[in-house]
Symmetry: C2
Subunit: 210 residues, 2 copies
């Protein structure tokens, strides 16, 4: 396939290099195709890769990988000309500065509201990210599903971790209570796959580390 990489940073550079080595024709889009960094990237990616302007990358590719920082996305796209029919892989995230959240679509969480409604209680968000059938029996062969929890008190979280471990989960501390802003959408991922998009309820996630 012919693949244009819009944004040759860490993500775009990695994907483009691996796809080029895998036999696809890759164009790394750059405002400065002759720059030293780009020459090094092309050398690493091999003969199936080349550098070009954004316009060239778009014109010569049936697939475009959007891998710029979020702040550049709008300008790149609105200046891109006709994209009709192109497959545009959006690999970006609308991150706030200092990774405090997402710029769009996220402002609070049920967990934080709960804490406001339960003054004095040591709130730990947990057991919200898989269905009860998984809580009844978490075993997937030899794999142990993860159970993330978050909260603002260390001792309370240790207690909840123990309770999750006793059920057969791999308990993992996802941080302070405001992390409910990611654990609740994570629950919605499970729910939507299980109920709306055909996977059924016998699904879960194993947390991998190396």
């Amino acid at each position: 396939m012919k693949i244009g990489i819009l944004g040759a940073g860490n993500v775009g550079g990695t994907l483009g290099t691996r796809w080029a080595r895998g036999g696809h024709e890759v164009v790394f889009a750059s405002r400065h195709p002759e720059a030293e960094e780009m020459r090094e990237l092309i050398a690493k990616a091999g003969p199936a890769a080349r550098a070009g302007s954004i316009a060239e990358a778009i014109a010569s590719s049936e697939i475009l990988a959007l891998t710029t920082p979020w702040s550049a996305v709008r300008d790149v796209l609105t200046g891109a000309g006709n994209l009709a029919g192109k497959i545009l892989i959006d690999a970006t995230n609308p991150l706030l500065p200092r990774l405090e959240g997402l710029e769009v679509g996220m402002s609070t969480s049920g967990g934080e509201l709960v804490a406001g409604w339960a003054p004095g209680a040591r709130v730990v968000k947990a057991f919200n990210t898989v269905g009860y059938n998984i809580m009844a029996d978490p075993a997937f062969g030899a794999a142990r599903p993860v159970m993330f929890y978050c909260g603002d008190g260390r001792a309370a979280k240790q207690t909840v971790a123990q309770l999750a471990g006793e059920l057969g989960f791999d308990p993992q501390d996802a941080g302070p209570l405001k992390q409910a802003r990611v654990l609740e959408p994570f629950a919605l991922l499970w729910i939507s796959l299980a109920v709306q998009y055909g996977f059924g309820r016998d699904i879960s996630f194993q947390f991998l580390r190396r």
Copy 2:
């Protein structure tokens, strides 16, 4: 430990039963402790479990599991009296009717904005949920990390799935483009664990099915 279950439905019933069988003292809170369903639940959970009013469950427990539907959460908590010092496990999710999203904290996504800015392009959200180091080498021993993608065109998604598979990922279709609303927070889970909460960047998720 002494555990009160606020909401003895599927989630609360399952957790309470398993904790009671594991040796903890469990009180299932109910407005109708004498109801037939509750008697069956208690019989299943064994001698370490009993039913009680919400007030009894709270008074006798150091740990409370909040497992009501979201619509009941506010009333249960604001009517709960003094919760100071209690560990409150929030297992709820502020779901919209028909699971269309979350009632709070979620309104759009970068992926949907991208589609609006790229008229005609076949946008697929993908490669946004793990760091580039994982894209460079997805192998975690024998485990293959999942790569979710979403979009509104079947053919474009099949192409992206192939590209993810070639890199060593387990490609999974998460549904239409609006699912970027859950895949972007899923990315934030990865990012926050990797960068803010001490796990480092060599983490990923395996999708489990059975």
